[in-house]
Symmetry: C2
Subunit: 342 residues, 2 copies
């Protein structure tokens, strides 16, 4: 079985974006503000948006199940206040839940949180509880920079974030550490901000001792861990300078990397450097890089091809990356699959 | 001949730091402000600081010449105003010049600029001119984020930076794009901010068309290009989405990467993915990662070992990375070496 741990609902019907645009207009002019109940998307529309896109590609490429969360770049936590984020998160999470109900063998939801810059993350708990308890979400996306590229929140090791972590530990769910759109002109969203955030989050954890306080807390660092595996020697050396334990003991019981690296040499490095138990298959399809690589004739984000072509990952190792690790890191996914007899 | 294109004067006598601390104290209380003339460091002190450190390691490891610039993390352009940066840059550049005079076969200077957040980069020109014309500097370090992790300057493709570029083109000198200390708690300086800046700078160039305006402008992206080579497929794909030419045409006549990647798999990926004409040997020694890698028994930053052990870079390719590319990217270095009969 092949589980893609990183998919976003990037192909939602246009009504969603229209609703969001009215909501954003409503921040300045409350008369224009859209209400949650005004969004009407039928099951048929949802079905079509998935069947023609993600599900089609999953079938073509041969993956079985996607952990599916709202579109990352649309979270845009920097827009408006907590109320705006709260309504928006509820709507987006409901749509992913509905997709998971329509395609229960192919999609299982992960939640976005109603984060807002400068607002206590504890305010996100009710949405998180609803998503886990009522919607069957198996993980969350945690944005370490709700300001959208201004980095005004404390590091992930700060107690600021502990209310979220306590709930994550209680539910035994992991978080993918995933930023959203950059509103800082310096950072291209998917070409700089995403990768920078991945590197930043890892280094925040390296300098701190978060996992002493939360030994079972689990983070997935997406996009192959940003710059981390490529600079693994640097990070091992920095940990040494900072008198931290070896990274395998200090961080690798709690931090995992996905395989959203869009060429063979990158996947080869990732799988060579990072223990296989810490690597989860993912494509972030349909996402930032949608084209076909002229050097291979295949989609850049068809990451399964790189795993299949790997001489490093073979036999049972492949199973670990495709399925075993995801079941271990997302215990609620494992439980849901077992309920389905899978 | 082996040229290390990325060395900083990290081992300057303590008097320099003391002077800087008095300067910083003087920002709040002008009575405490240190004056440039108060810094006294003898040639013997300079000699000792180099012979015991960089030069010793260069001899041990077998590199011949270092392009030597002021300590990157000490530039701290975010501290004080332009006058503070200006005095500080002049002092630091003078020390590197003196080192180059004391060890003319081993060190050649590159300049830091007196950047200051919110200040027109044109104000840096006089220091740049002095460093090139009087001190024989062969390149500069350009900080794309003088705010120190708040990223308040426009992207490198903005006309804001053009006065520097015009002077670079006139002198035919390249810039290493190198940030300084992060004063943003989110970013560890050498573990996140440096790598993020490398990725960010590359992506800024990718989205823009800077090299149409300056076809001969050259940037070195340090630390192996941040996350870029590891995600080369992603960047190729993003360029494609943005309807840009192939990266080799769009950027690789102007952008170069150094080899400050501190483990074998990283160097292997770099040399496999990036054309060899775009890779310049460097160690950033003595820098962020000073320890010995327990997995190899050698210094993490002894990057020559990784090149020597490479099965990808052999024969004349090695010469290109060690010497040929540096002579091409730094024409004033080449001219200075030829004057020495090298």
């Amino acid at each position: 079985m092949i589980i893609d741990c990183h998919g976003h609902y990037t192909t939602a019907p246009k009504a969603l974006e229209d609703w969001r645009n009215r909501q954003i207009a409503g921040i300045k002019d409350p008369a224009l503000m859209s209400k949650a109940g005004e969004l009407k998307i039928s099951d048929d529309e949802l079905r079509e948006s998935i069947e023609k896109n993600q599900l089609r590609l999953m079938n073509e490429r041969g993956s079985d199940l996607t952990i599916f969360s709202p579109r990352a770049s649309f979270m845009a936590h920097h827009i408006g206040d907590f109320a705006v984020s709260s309504t928006w998160a509820a709507i987006c999470n409901e749509l992913c839940f509905r997709v998971s109900q329509l395609f229960p063998r192919h999609f299982i939801p992960a939640a976005m949180l109603p984060q807002s810059p400068g607002v206590d993350p504890a305010t996100c708990i009710p949405e998180l509880v609803k998503c886990v308890e009522q919607y069957g979400n198996v993980g969350i996306n945690l944005n370490p920079d709700p300001s959208g590229g201004h980095w005004t929140s404390p590091p992930l090791t700060d107690r600021h974030w502990y209310p979220i972590y306590e709930k994550m530990v209680e539910y035994d769910i992991p978080a993918m550490v995933h930023v959203s759109t950059s509103c800082n002109d310096c950072f291209h969203t998917t070409g700089a901000h995403y990768l920078n955030a991945d590197t930043t989050a890892f280094m925040q954890c390296l300098t701190g001792d978060l996992f002493n306080d939360f030994p079972t807390l689990r983070f997935i660092i997406p996009h192959g861990g940003g710059a981390v595996p490529y600079h693994w020697g640097r990070f091992r050396g920095l940990a040494q300078e900072l008198k931290k334990p070896l990274l395998k003991d200090h961080l690798l019981n709690n931090i995992f990397f996905d395989t959203c690296v869009y060429h063979q040499p990158g996947i080869d490095l990732l799988t060579q450097v990072i223990p296989l138990k810490n690597i989860l298959f993912a494509s972030e399809m349909i996402g930032a890089v949608r084209g076909i690589d002229p050097e291979t004739g295949h989609y850049y984000d068809d990451t399964k091809r790189y795993i299949e072509a790997s001489s490093i990952v073979v036999g049972d190792d492949r199973h670990q990356i495709y399925e075993g690790n995801a079941r271990r890191v997302f215990p609620r996914l494992d439980a849901a699959l077992k309920k389905q007899g899978r």
